[in-house]
Symmetry: C2
Subunit: 258 residues, 2 copies
Amino acid sequence: MQTLKIVKIGGAIINDSKKLATFLEKFAALNEPKILVHGGGKIATSLAHQMNIEVNMHEGRRITNADTLEIITMAYAGKINKNIVASLQAYHCNAIGFSGADGNTIIANKRPIQKIDYGFVGDIKKVHTTVVDLLITHKITPIFCAITHDAQGQLLNTNADTIASELAIAFSKKYKVELYYCFEKKGVLRSIEDEDTIIETITETNYKSLIDEGIITAGMIPKIDNCFHAIKHKVHKVCIGLTDMLFNPTFTHTSIQQ
Amino acid sequence: MQTLKIVKIGGAIINDSKKLATFLEKFAALNEPKILVHGGGKIATSLAHQMNIEVNMHEGRRITNADTLEIITMAYAGKINKNIVASLQAYHCNAIGFSGADGNTIIANKRPIQKIDYGFVGDIKKVHTTVVDLLITHKITPIFCAITHDAQGQLLNTNADTIASELAIAFSKKYKVELYYCFEKKGVLRSIEDEDTIIETITETNYKSLIDEGIITAGMIPKIDNCFHAIKHKVHKVCIGLTDMLFNPTFTHTSIQQ
């Protein structure tokens, strides 16, 4: 099986144009088939402020009314996605931008209203790999923003971590998938202040005690849950850390293992 | 040679959600390989107003500073493009959004500063058909917004009519290309007030006298010049009119002929 790297980048890189350029140059040079998934929270928030549109969050998740969906679509699929694609072209990586609607790749259900009405937020139902795989096979690199669709004409805001893990799972049928969650730390830390306290391996066994001990807290739990979800569904390798881990296999990071 | 329809739609359809939906449903049902090219001027202008960013036009062309480019990227590649793609998916047409940066498809030069500095406006230098053709061959429909890139990381605002004609020319090497410019009239009119005065055929011979007589004026000239440029470079058929001409071959329209 051929290796496919799926890399998710978030605000730590996207909000810093210098860091983003450095990352994209190295990412472009990776020889293996690869997919990039990006969020872009801060840019959407500042655009909302500029347009006098209220920002509502619940437990770190964005409540997405029609105005917010429009902002997200403009910021994620427009501004961030197209600039990443253009930069990668400059580094001779033939990239192509995707939302989940493009190629009918990621179909989601609008999240049902329970305690909270999240609005136009999508929970992924199905990933179609055909179009993306066709492109990968031709050495073209898909760049996903955090938007899906319901296959009935409605775009939906969807968590970028989840998009990355669901793509990883879907492509594991054909590829040996390595899933990299890049964020602002070298890995999951025992002590958030101290970069030397990286937890190098998280397994289901130590995960429970790390939560019980209060070492892994609310913010990290959905991210790590996504990782376990991927690992349990045949994704070969799941890593959390700085982008360096992608380019230097001995660079410290957190590895999620079954 | 297989037929490829390249269809350009502008503000008359994009600014009217009902018209757009009706058009997309019919467009989705077209069996032949097809490409859609869209502008979106008014949406970009109203977004600029909402964000308190000045709009500067010169002879109907937008002067594109960095802020304006950002707005255009958000409106064209984000909002308009992704909503069209999602709608087409709902009508069972597997579509994928493109800017000229995606797949390195359309490379442009930033327009040199002469009397006017148009800013980040691109004049098309080269069309690479590979990625788009790969998708068309697999029955996937590319949807182009009016953005190109300079292959050095810079996105550029580019006239949608020109994108349509340059795509048409590039694909004429492999396909029998039909190029349709859809706008708000049944065709080019002798008398702008009277829809019954359609000029059914414009050739190079009558074009000159139509200009001399003042029947074809400034606004239409760049559009018709684009048409002649296409016809002279082996595009099989070039038509101007309402979207109806696409779905009903006997529907009145203006045909541009050599």
